[in-house]
Each structure stands twice: as structure tokens, then as C-alpha cells.
């Protein structure tokens, strides 16, 4: 089996699906000739031509708004937004149309579009290149929101997303794009949207996380093991739908939970996870559910980025704290 990083796995998925389904078109800024600024769409235009791999004008709302029309007409547009920090100009299209057309038209029209983009920090990028908008997206009805953290899941979730009858936003952890490499099968497989992955089994505490933070959580769990603490690590993978069962099952077993995300703390998706645990597993809780998160500030310029981003050490501290109660 070939070893692939996330970029290669996504690229591979796009090759497969464009060959399999001629309704699939890829559009975005620099996705064609340049192959995408992270090369996720590399080689696609050469193979499938400029009518299916389309360099668009620089206008996110226009890209998503026209992709909406393409999808309603029965195509399967896969949109690349260059960074999640450049999605806000298109928020109105997402909120007012992409997530609504099935509802508004009672199913007469649907919008099976995939909108994928790098997300999160830790790459010493310029301002606005390190945002984590998952909580904003998860609050918009009618849109599924997923985030793989490994090459295997990246491919499997992207194939599911393209085949999904509804709009799917896929956030890709920029920091892991090339950093995580693993064996990824060549064949066509999908990972279900809406299922979390128990990444590591453990008994005493559940660490729930997504994107690049999963790897910090794993490394915290590794350290904790040397200290005799057995931590379970869950990669949420999907915000909408939210896999409550997997989370609750684990928390009911461990009695303790730490949620980790890079995004701004207030109103982050961690709050939803915590609220759900509270609603459905309160009696199992032996300690407060802690959140290890970014702060209620903008992501600092790269010199101070490490202050902002949660890391294994902060996760470990939180675990130790919940173990103390």
C-alpha cells in the first residue's frame, strides 16, 4: 500500500472520483494550472481539462454562489477555498442558500456541493491564514461539517462528502497536510460522515478533539501513559452530524472528559460537546468537563502563535486536573 500524506490522499480521492463520476467538477482560486496552493488539486486539470477543473475569479461568494447553481443543476461541484480565513465573504451563501435550498424547496432542489479548505494554525502563516471556523459552520442548519486528521480519513471522508446528497464542508488541518503520513489504500473506500473515531483506547479519561489537535492529544496520552494514566482519545471527525454515542460511551466508561480545540474558546464547538455530555452523562461524571482551547483573541502573528495553540503539555495539565477531582 502506498504511503500518503493528507495532501496526496485528498488528491488521490479527487482523481478517483472525477474519473468515476463525470458530474464532479473542481473549482476555486488557483486550483487549475497551479494545482492549488497546497497542491491538493495537482494534476487534475491536466487529466480532466479546464472545463472540469476551473480557475475562478478571486471571489469566494461568487465561487460558492455559482457552485450552488451548478449543484442545483445536478453537477457535483467540489470547491476549494484557499484558507478557511477567506470563507467569511461567502457566509451569506452558506447560511442563506447552500444550507437551505432543500428545505426551502421541500426537496425539489438540492445542493450536493463539497466545500473544502485548509484550516487551523501552527504553520507560521500570515494573518487570517490560521482560523478555525468549525463552530460557526456547525451552527448553520443544512450543512454537514467534517474534519479529518489523517490521510486515511481524509480520503475516505472526501469520497463520502462528494457522494453525499447534501452540502458538506470539509476542514483540513493545514498543519497536518504533509506532517502525517500513513498507508492509504489505492481503492475506492469511504468513511462515514457523522462517526467519531476512537483513536486510542483508555480507561481513566476521555480526550475529545479534532484536526491537528488530535495529534497533540495523542502525544499527551503517550506522555500520560508513562505517568500511569490511561487516556482514551477520540477524533470527533464530524461536527454535523455529531456522534453523541461514541462520546457518551467513552465518557460513561471513564467518567472524565477533556475537550481540545484550537478555535476561540467562547462559543467553540467544545461547548456543544460539553453541553451534550452534561445533558446525557451527568451522573457518570466524576469531574468537570474541561476545555483546552484557543483564546478569545485573534490568532496572533506567528511569533506568538505557540502561546495561542493548545499543546500536549496543556492537555496533560488538564487531564491531571480532572483526575484530581
Amino acid at each position: 500500500m502506498e504511503k500518503r500524506n493528507i495532501v496526496a490522499a485528498l488528491n488521490h480521492a479527487l482523481f478517483l472520483e472525477m474519473a468515476r463520476d463525470e458530474r464532479v467538477v473542481v473549482l476555486g482560486e488557483d486550483v487549475g494550472r497551479d494545482g492549488g496552493v497546497f497542491r491538493v488539486t495537482d494534476g487534475l486539470q491536466q487529466k480532466f481539462g479546464p472545463e472540469r477543473v476551473i480557475d475562478t475569479p478571486l471571489a469566494e461568494s461568487g465561487i460558492i454562489g455559482t457552485a450552488f447553481g451548478l449543484a442545483v443543476a445536478g453537477l457535483r461541484p467540489v470547491v476549494e477555498i484557499q484558507f478557511s480565513g477567506f470563507l467569511p465573504p461567502a457566509f451569506d451563501e452558506l447560511i442563506s442558500h447552500v444550507g437551505r435550498i432543500r428545505w426551502r424547496s421541500r426537496g425539489r432542489f438540492t445542493c450536493p456541493v463539497v466545500i473544502r479548505m485548509p484550516s487551523g494554525g501552527g504553520i507560521r502563516a500570515p494573518e487570517h491564514h490560521s482560523e478555525s471556523p468549525e463552530a460557526l459552520l456547525a451552527h448553520i442548519p443544512g450543512i454537514k461539517v467534517v474534519m479529518p486528521s489523517t490521510p486515511y480519513d481524509a480520503k475516505g471522508l472526501l469520497l463520502s462528502a462528494i457522494r453525499d446528497p447534501d452540502p458538506v464542508v470539509m476542514l483540513e488541518p493545514t498543519r497536518c497536510y504533509r506532517a502525517i503520513v500513513e498507508e492509504v489504500p489505492d481503492d475506492d473506500y469511504t468513511e462515514p460522515i457523522g462517526k467519531a473515531r476512537v483513536f486510542r483506547q483508555g480507561e481513566q479519561v476521555t480526550i475529545i478533539s479534532w484536526g491537528a489537535m488530535v495529534h497533540e492529544a495523542l502525544s499527551a496520552a503517550e506522555q500520560l501513559k508513562t505517568e500511569g494514566v490511561s487516556a482514551e482519545v477520540i477524533d470527533l471527525r464530524s461536527f454535523v452530524p455529531f456522534d453523541r454515542e461514541t462520546v457518551l460511551e467513552s465518557v460513561e466508561k471513564t467518567g472524565r472528559a477533556v475537550i481540545v480545540h484550537e478555535a476561540v474558546r467562547t462559543g467553540g464547538f467544545g461547548a456543544e460537546v460539553s453541553a451534550q455530555i452534561n445533558e446525557h452523562a451527568l451522573t457518570a461524571l466524576e469531574a468537570p468537563v474541561m476545555r483546552v482551547t484557543g483564546f478569545d483573541t485573534v490568532m496572533p502573528l506567528f511569533r506568538s502563535e505557540h502561546f495561542y495553540l493548545p499543546n500536549a503539555s496543556r492537555i496533560r495539565n488538564a487531564v491531571q486536573e480532572v483526575l484530581r477531582s
Partner: protein, 364 residues
């Protein structure tokens, strides 16, 4: 196909296409090739639309429907342009475009359902290629561009037409839509219904230019001003733009100059921001009356026919209204059914919550 209007009528010079003058006198050289039957059909459609629109207003006043946005005065702009389309063309309208949508196959009963707050009204019949009313001003032209683009990609010959107001031209999304359309040369026709107002804001507040059509110059597409109260002119220009687009000629923008004779919606009080005298001036330019005079001059209109039309129209309206009103009340489950094809576990749980809440409310 030689261009009759699109490349000839220069918005920068303040030129405007007009075929029927305000008295209904026709410029025969420019008259589009419509049969007498078609002309009468168009007149019937205008009369029916006016009846519907007035009905909408009074239904709102009676509390039988929600907020209503009248299109009175804009019938020629909507019906003339919609009639220039083929059945397989896409229509992407705004909330005020009921008259256009009805021409394109939107069933009248559905219109009433929508106005009654019933989502069924937004479910287009399978053979009608028309998106639901767009409410977010300026957001819909991009959708038309996408639909037109899909047709181009698939080498289909359908085009898309989209309607938006003078106010909408200020939105960035309209800019992006027109620019995409031109860059990708998609078969899309942009109809700006310049009815002189965006709620209370007069046309001059939206743009410091003489015309709105001149925006098109900035995108490298033809832009033309047409007398929006002249059904024949609107039809002819739209037809030319649609056929040009169909033939691969790319997008075009049409500014239909008209006037909103009624209030913005039934929640609006236009006396706060405009003079009755201005309204009276425009009333004289009523598009239906203009077209009627034209027909009368050609011997295609009689008082008896008018009477028959109105009766027939009223019956149609009443029948549609009845059909809409006799639908059963909303079922709570309906609101969970259309978010995704498969409801998420969250939606299933929420639907359960609502059922229990309603049961307990009824139990009390």
C-alpha cells in the same frame, strides 16, 4: 442573428429601447414577430397578474396571508421578459417576481400557499425550472450564473434569466455574478427591474450613474436600457439577449425602467418618502393600459373581451386560493424532513422532543 438592440442602444448616451410609446403607438419597424393570438395571450396574462396582485394585497389586509410585496406597475417588465424564455430555461426570481414566475409555469395555487406561510408553495413542480423567491437581496443572480454555466458545460441549449431590483445592484454579490458570467461566457440574462425604489431609497441613492445598465460595460457584456412599461420592448430585448446567449454569445444585462406603483410591501407606508404626484405621473404610464391601447388600435381588444378576461381571471384566482386554503394545517414533523436527505440523530431527537411537547400541551 443580427443585433437589433443589444449592441446598438448605448446606455451612456441615455438611449432606451421603446417600441410602444406611452400612448400605445407602435414603432412597426421594431415590432417583434408575435401573432395576434400571442399578443392577446400576453394581455390576458397582464390582466390576470394585476388581479392576483390586488388580491394579494387584500388578502394580507384580511389577515389571510403574510407580508405581500406588490408588483403593480411591473407587469410588462416581468411578463414580457418571461415570455421570451423557453420552457427548459431557468428562471431565478426575487420576491417581487410572481408575475414572471406564473408565466414560466409556477402554479398560482402555489403562490398563494407560499404567501400563507406554507413551504409547499416553494416546491416547484418537477417540470418547472424556477428557483424559489429569493429574499436576500442580490444573492440570487449568482445562482442563475451557476445554472447557466451547468447548461454550457453540458452543451445544453438552455439559458438562465435572473431578476433583481435597482437596490440589488449595490450588492457585491450582483457584481460577482455578472463578472463570473462574463469571464466564463455563460448563457445568463440579467434583468434589473429598476422600479425606482428600494423600500424608501430612491434610485439615485443606489448609484451615481445615469443608468444601471452601464454597469455592464465594466464586465464586458452588453447592457441595455429598455422601457420596462413597454411589454413589446421588454420582450424583444430579452428575446434577443436570450437567443444570443443560447447561441454562445454570452451574458447580457437589461435594465427595465419601470415604477413600483404600490408600497414596498404591505408593511410599508410609501407616503413617508414619496410624493403622490410622482405616483400619479407613473400611473399614467401603466403598462397594461399602454398595451391595451396598442391592441385596441389593432382591433384585438374589446370591452366585452376585457370583461370576460376579468371574470375568467377572478374565477382562476378564487379557485387557486381555495386550493391553497383547503390544504391541511402544518404537521410538526414537516419541519424536520427537509434539512438533509437523511435526518441526523440530532434532528431525530429534536423531532421527538417536539412531538412530546405538543402532546403535553394538548394534554393540559
Amino acid at each position: 442573428m443580427t443585433s437589433r438592440f443589444l449592441e446598438r442602444c448605448d446606455p451612456l448616451k441615455g438611449e432606451m429601447v421603446q417600441i410602444l410609446d406611452p400612448q400605445g403607438v407602435c414603432d412597426e419597424a421594431a415590432r417583434p414577430g408575435l401573432s395576434d393570438e400571442e399578443l392577446r395571450k400576453l394581455y390576458r396574462q397582464m390582466v390576470l397578474s394585476r388581479l392576483i396582485d390586488r388580491k394579494g394585497f387584500s388578502l394580507q389586509r384580511q389577515g389571510r396571508i403574510g407580508t405581500y410585496a406588490q408588483f403593480e406597475g411591473q407587469e410588462a417588465a416581468q411578463i414580457g421578459s418571461a415570455y421570451a424564455l423557453r420552457k427548459d430555461d431557468w428562471m431565478v426570481p426575487s420576491y417581487r417576481d410572481g408575475a414572471a414566475m406564473l408565466v414560466h409555469g409556477y402554479p398560482l395555487a402555489k403562490f398563494f400557499m407560499y404567501l400563507m406561510g406554507n413551504e409547499e408553495g416553494n416546491r416547484m413542480p418537477d417540470d418547472v425550472r424556477c428557483l424559489p423567491f429569493a429574499i436576500v437581496v442580490g444573492s440570487q443572480p449568482m445562482h442563475a450564473v451557476g445554472l447557466a454555466w451547468a447548461a454550457k458545460m453540458r452543451r445544453e441549449s438552455s439559458v438562465a434569466i435572473t431578476y433583481f431590483g435597482d437596490g440589488a445592484t449595490s450588492q457585491g454579490d450582483v457584481h460577482e455574478a455578472m463578472n463570473f458570467a462574463s469571464v466564463f461566457q455563460v448563457p445568463c440574462v440579467f434583468i434589473c427591474e429598476n422600479n425606482q425604489f428600494a423600500i424608501s431609497m430612491p434610485r439615485c441613492r443606489q448609484s451615481a450613474t445615469r443608468t444601471l445598465a452601464q454597469r455592464a460595460i465594466g464586465y464586458g457584456m452588453p447592457g441595455v436600457v429598455v422601457d420596462g412599461n413597454d411589454l413589446l420592448a421588454v420582450y424583444a430585448v430579452t428575446r434577443e439577449a436570450a437567443e444570443r446567449a443560447r447561441a454562445g454569445g454570452g451574458p447580457a444585462m437589461i435594465e427595465a425602467v419601470t415604477y413600483r406603483l404600490g408600497a414596498h410591501t404591505t408593511s410599508d407606508d410609501p407616503t413617508r418618502y414619496r410624493e403622490d404626484a410622482e405616483v400619479a405621473e407613473w400611473r399614467k404610464k401603466d403598462p397594461i393600459e399602454r398595451f391595451r391601447r396598442f391592441l385596441e388600435a389593432r382591433g384585438l381588444w374589446t370591452r366585452e373581451w376585457e370583461e370576460a378576461l376579468r371574470q375568467e381571471g377572478s374565477a382562476q384566482v378564487e379557485a387557486a386560493l381555495e386550493a391553497a386554503e383547503k390544504l391541511p394545517p402544518a404537521e410538526p414533523d414537516e419541519i424536520f424532513r427537509y434539512t438533509f436527505q437523511e435526518p441526523t440523530p440530532q434532528l431525530r431527537a429534536q423531532s421527538q422532543t417536539l412531538r412530546e411537547a405538543l402532546r403535553s400541551e394538548r394534554g393540559k
